[in-house]
Amino acid sequence: MNILALDTCTEMCSVAMLKNGELFEQSVPTQRGHSEKILGMLDEILAQANCRLSDMDCIAFGRGPGSFTGVRVGVSVAQGIAFAANLPVVPVSTLAAVAQRAIDEHGAENIAVAMDARMQEVYSALYQSVEGLAELSGEERVCLPEHIQLNTEQPFFAAGTGWKEYETSMTTMFSRQVNAMDNELLPTAAAIAKLALKQAEKGNTLSAEQAVPVYLRDNVAKKKGEQ
């Protein structure tokens, strides 16, 4: 199974390839300008792995949540490539990707991911490591840091930039449960590829036009009656 993965949802621009179990990856911190980098980075990763697009079995991508524009750049690029190359896609949550990194890099078991969502809010979700892969418990949410509900009494590993942005309020709230923390973890395409592999093996893939963003924040404008 060969998977080409990309993510532009956050301030990391990231590509990766899983080539029959061998991982190639490249990530560059990027505040703006993912659009100028992402295709060139894909060129490089293909060259590094000595592969062509036609050797791929699917395209995996970070489907959000994240910066709205960033999410759309990544999803649009995945759509374009998958459609042109007639490949299926596997959408992967950026929160799950952060949890996966906590598992891979810190050996975490229970992971509470919180990612800065701007507007004083955070994206959050709880994950468990099941056979080394991040599995969602409950649901993904966007809310004020003080409204986070993790629905767990267990100690957990705190992962993601939300734990940095709102460190005081959140670590105080969960002081009894946070047993370790990495508040700099951002989603990477490598983590996305890893999570996508399991889905692709199970046949959980979509066609290109079914690749859509997950924003979590959906009340972005007021209708006339509400204005």
Binding site: G33, S35, E36, K37, I38, L39, G40, L42, D43, L53, F68, T69, R72, V73, V75, S76, V77, A78, Q79, G80, I81, F83, A84, A85, A208, E209, V212, P213, Y215, V220, A221, K222, K223, K224, Q227
Partner: protein, 335 residues
Amino acid sequence: MRVLGIESSCDETGVAVYDTEKGLLAHRLFSQIAMHAEYGGVVPELASRDHIRKTLPLIEEVLADTALTTKDIDAIAYTAGPGLAGALLVGAAIGRSLAWALDIPALAINHMEGHLLSPLLEEPAPEFPFVSLLVSGGHTLLVDVKGVGQYELLGESIDDAVGEAFDKTAKLLGMDYPGGPYLAAKAEQGIADRFVFPRPMTNRPGLDFSFSGLKTFAMNTWLDTEQTDQDKADIALAFQTAVVETLAIKCKRALKRTGHKRLVVAGGVSANKALRNKLDAMKGVEVFYPRQAFCSDNGAMIAFAGAMRHQAMKHQDVPSFTVRPRWPLNELSPP
């Protein structure tokens, strides 16, 4: 050579295929107007969210219409500006990535150039040089066009675009968004010369426009009436007549200044019947318009502009894409 064009600069997703031998092969459009109407105007974030759902399905439809596959496409043209940044990015990302994966050229097209060249899709097509009047919800421009990419800006609106003035005036008369076409329809029931509106910036030399004062004039006139349906129609007519005559006066000046004998009118407001009647009545000038369907935003004009540019293009193949929410026409150069 076949060019797939993608337009997503504002509230319409447009896709088309243009063949340099056979002309326009197919075009599809999805308008978001109904969605934005609920909000009283275009919501940029919602526009972007819709483009990403509609672009690929429209591409599939256009390919099915033409019985082509992506392998039959020789280049991809996408709107890179001007327009809403987030909306532009969706079309640019999909278009550029398609081209990247298909290993074919990608062309970043200026939306206004698309409009400007759109009458060339019709028969008979205007020959260069000509004066172009671009009138839409976002723009009011007079351009001296000597060839593809050879554009000299003659005049523009210093405040509201003409389509914007139509929409705003319609709104203050209580019409739904987007009110421009409703206002034009209402004007047909109006009694001529009951109200007379000024012709802004026509009593001094120059080719610039100003329409925001007309909106205020309409408001004050409206408040002085009993606000009956007939009052509404009469004000609509007076407003439209003032706009149309102002545009016609400036077009005449532009033709005189350049010495050109051809006038090309494009953009959403070029669908306005009163404007067409007025311009068609000008003597010694040939006037060209796109078909009604291509007056507003569409993919056909982007595919066409892409084809015009590609034919003479030096191959630039940087694997990246950027958009320019502001991108003046006079910064373009010939292909």
